[in-house]
Symmetry: C2
Subunit: 380 residues, 2 copies
Amino acid sequence: MNFTINRSAFISQLNNVLRAISSKTTIPILTGLKMVVNEDNIVLTGSNSDITIESVISANDADNDLTIEDTGAIVLPARFFSDIVKKLPDKKVTIEVTSGFQADITSGSAKFQINGQDAENFPHLPEIETNKSVTLPNDILKEVIRQTVIAVSKQESRPILAGVHMTLKDGVLTAVATDSHRLAQRKVVLENIDNGIDFDVIIPGKSMEELSGMISDVHEDVQMQVTENQVLFIFGNTHFYSRLLEGNYPETNQLIPQTADTTVELDAGTFLASIERASLLSHESRNDVVKLSLKPSENLVRISGDSPDIGTVEEEVGTSALDGNDLEISFNPNYMKDALRSFGQATIKISFTSPLRPFTLVPTEDQENFVHLITPVRTF
Amino acid sequence: MNFTINRSAFISQLNNVLRAISSKTTIPILTGLKMVVNEDNIVLTGSNSDITIESVISANDADNDLTIEDTGAIVLPARFFSDIVKKLPDKKVTIEVTSGFQADITSGSAKFQINGQDAENFPHLPEIETNKSVTLPNDILKEVIRQTVIAVSKQESRPILAGVHMTLKDGVLTAVATDSHRLAQRKVVLENIDNGIDFDVIIPGKSMEELSGMISDVHEDVQMQVTENQVLFIFGNTHFYSRLLEGNYPETNQLIPQTADTTVELDAGTFLASIERASLLSHESRNDVVKLSLKPSENLVRISGDSPDIGTVEEEVGTSALDGNDLEISFNPNYMKDALRSFGQATIKISFTSPLRPFTLVPTEDQENFVHLITPVRTF
């Protein structure tokens, strides 16, 4: 192996692949970065056994300034290798493996010699052969992830809830996540997809978050390919593999109430600021709840929180519509903050039935496609 | 107490005082912020018993937009109070204490009620009566702190070394710090100071760091007043008090070698980058050292580091002058990195006597006023 490459182009691909590599792994070789040098490209691979990321650096892309003298393959300690490449003095770097598994890294007057491992010992990539393939607009996929991963369970008691349930049926992609206290459901109507393609998979929330971070840097559409136990996302010169969670996701459709006794419309951003203020105090009390009083009869919505040690807070909330019965309801402000943030600056509609039944938040525009559900807290 | 103030002006003074307040204190009232409202100003005080910071907000400064309706004093929980003020909705905030020790905080539609404490229970400020007062240019004081605090000891075994030894004699201010592995000494010739003023004090390194952070935000000169057990720095509308360390600082003058057998001149920034590369590997080995080989006979300086598990690194170092005997010397790269950073982008001269004797770094310009000394590591 012997190649010379533009250092900053190399670093940007290294950073991509590093996202999959953890120093805490039970499989020692997975702390390494696999580097395969072919005639006209370099393939970098990193994996933590849940996620595998593969990046192709092409000699045909002038930005890479890549000259390949000799092909070969090696696994190098990922963290060190990238730390070294990032600190090298010259704008180019040469990497050479002459014999065995020792790599010479040269840049300007600096020369490193690093111990590597046999690339043959690196776990093989899952093989993806499927006709279940859809193309997702980059922005839409990011939004779907952002709006659902917040509701993914962090508890280990029900592993299946650590995933986002993604289904494709009749051209509609539905993503659902719930930790049993709250639920987020986003639907997207996909255009121009082949007839008859459908799938029903559970993708680990962590994989979705990692994917979201990566596609933020590119602006290309993302191709999603689904098999029985793996999902592959392809964008730019990157392949992002994630294992799927096995098992049946709970039926969530009937959890979303279809009727309401009290509804309020308000600005998500302004309401978020009020909740953040109220939670300053509620966070200090044993049961972290804030109380919302809705009085359509007086056209008044008031939020309050208290902590016996510190004090109390009370605030009137501005609304653009308020209908139905008077209601007092208490909830965990963290759930509400997460939910409101997922709406951005939109106007939203919150629909309540009773103090103990879950309530829903939807954008006032496009109410069908995104719903967030929160279970209140009993305080009496 | 009853006043209304521009919220962002208030926040900036709160932030100042908060620097002294720790939530981990054995004296509960010191988690509080003392607020005294006078006829024409508000005085905020925070303290952790080592450092006390006092900030005066004047009604005469139009930026404060301060209206005082009623005087009074109270101690409020510092962290909560500042969190609340930072999150309030309006550009103004009104704070009112009607009876007892409960404060009403109102801004826009939000209203908080916070439990406070009697200001009489807050420890009294040290009284500073002294004629030992000097004025220090802001930039110079920051540089003095930056160049010496790095050598302050983090060990608790010799508490006196946790301070910076500051002396004023014959119009020369000298600051010295050492952790017994390294030493930093900075001298400043003060102009226009009163004849006969001298002092000899040890200021806790932590106080100096805190002070440095605060004077970075202002551009005014700093007045320094010294008494037997306190030092007071005055800048803008802020008083910064620190207790002094008691005891005798070790004699450091004779530690600095006056002769050299090998000297090298080089660019501090470039050398720092080489040390950072070499330390990537040395950090992983049991004894974290890098080796410097100086061969004036061949006009060659080479730095190297290794870690048996990971690999080796070797690099030639560019120099602008190299004289004396050939020498190999090993040192802790962290000490060298700290030292080089304290020189900024200057050209420096490093003077060695033998592999086991401390070596010195000075700027090639102005060699008298700053010297950093490092003790090498024995590797044989």
